[in-house]
Symmetry: C2
Amino acid sequence: MVGVDIGATKISAGLVGPDGRIRLHGGRSIHANDGPTAVLAGVVDVVERLVEPPARPRAVGVGVAAQVERGSGRVLYAPNLRWHDLPLADRLGKALGCPVTIENDVRAATVGEWRHGAGAGRDDLLTLWVGTGIGGSVVSGGRLLEGSSNALGEIGHMVVVAGGRRCHCPGRGCLEAYAGGWAIAERARERIASEPELGRPMVGRATSPEALTAAIVTAAARDGDPLAVELMRSTSGYLAAGAVSLVNAFNPELLVVGGGVVEGWPEALGAMASAIRNGCQPPAAAAVRVVPAALGPDAVIVGAGRLAHDRLLGAERAGRPAPRTKRGGHP
Amino acid sequence: MVGVDIGATKISAGLVGPDGRIRLHGGRSIHANDGPTAVLAGVVDVVERLVEPPARPRAVGVGVAAQVERGSGRVLYAPNLRWHDLPLADRLGKALGCPVTIENDVRAATVGEWRHGAGAGRDDLLTLWVGTGIGGSVVSGGRLLEGSSNALGEIGHMVVVAGGRRCHCPGRGCLEAYAGGWAIAERARERIASEPELGRPMVGRATSPEALTAAIVTAAARDGDPLAVELMRSTSGYLAAGAVSLVNAFNPELLVVGGGVVEGWPEALGAMASAIRNGCQPPAAAAVRVVPAALGPDAVIVGAGRLAHDRLLGAERAGRPAPRTKRGGHP
């Protein structure tokens, strides 16, 4: 099975075994100005380097940062790629001559961690990905939840400060508006503007306050810069409040936490676990453990490959014919 | 089918038809000092007035404000009734000579609204009950979610103000700590203490500031008392923040809202709908409607009766024998 991760700046892919291990990696860069046709040609190229024609993959799964229509594999909206209403599963399926499954990348990564990573063997878990943005996904009673319009799991946009900071979404006070990478950088710039002396060492690490990133703030905190430490500790505090909300609302047995911000500042996991222990409803607190994601950047590839595998199996069990192909071989 | 609602001060019950309508009502008062034996005798008495021996009900469903063990119908903890580790399903089943299903009362009320109330025919909905406390429950993909330790849905304890007001639970800044009935009264007392002149008319409605309740604050707001209006508007604001979190996290098609606080201040529903429209992720906002609960105080009885019906049907379909009984008849 082939899993593909279409990101904002690159396509990554892998040949995924039934055990969830990636047997062979592939990838290439893309640019924001590449239109869908160029990106799709890039995906075909990457896949055909993993499974060389005339052989073809049995099925391909794709994770993409997009709102995906349930069932059809149509991308309704992908802000980073500027795609609107693109029949991605159909177009890739025709080009590759095999069934293609499309899933939102956060969902795909969750399936990866659930089936082959930190959540293997569990029936009730949440993932929380803290990168530039914050996303997550929910497995409850052994099922990946989808919601009424396939949009369940926007847990970065749970409100942790009613009436608080403006978010990049239409809301205010969202978890992401405090603890997402962009928000950490924004909060750093504001603190530096109000206390330039205290901020000078951190600005010295960037070319200008505008060039500050969460990674720079994290590195400064790691070196003991007082303002950076203050910022990362308050980031942990907001993530802890979000974790309490999630555990009270969803009662998972695992909260799987990944993404660049917490990889850079793993102290956040301890703060989340402690807040859950001290602040959650006792039955929910007793049931859950906070664990780091296990698959790193491969989670989307592994999960997308697994979804393609499961849907192919489902189709075969239901007796549907495999789609026609002009090429031979079924690796 | 018989549905029973064991509350803190009374037992209410009804003979529930397959259409969810209550054909006959019954009930009696209980006291906080009644032990479990007295309360159980009260339940048996109420049920036997609805279905007179030697006839017996085919099945009885009970909703109770408690943490219930999945499967066994054992009450692990019921704070209002001061019950710990009580085998409620077994004891009532023996006394009544029929299968008894026990469910948390918020879940039972949700089943009532889902199957026979505001949510009839829907597969993805949330209930939010705003009374003295705040609770809720989640139906996703046509299934009532339970969580890993049967504690899913403590949505009154989602954090809306990180580091905010102390809650009655171990946490801080919970939705309930701002918008639950007890919290509205507490916030009113604090405002009155800081502005006694402004608070005088509201205190005049109670015997003392300590005797203030959310119902008194709501009635004062209804009459235009400025401090009470301010308090109920801010209550709406916190409920709106909670609604945004819920819709972003769960992507329901309906948010069913009930309970004494919003029955007294239905403006809160408009505030919630408006905040969702303006502050949620667009796909989630477009999918959902905010509607009032339809069954009022009967929701627990209807839902508990329905659960008993469904579980009996499930047992019969699975070919399990109906439990033996010493009495005749199956109304």
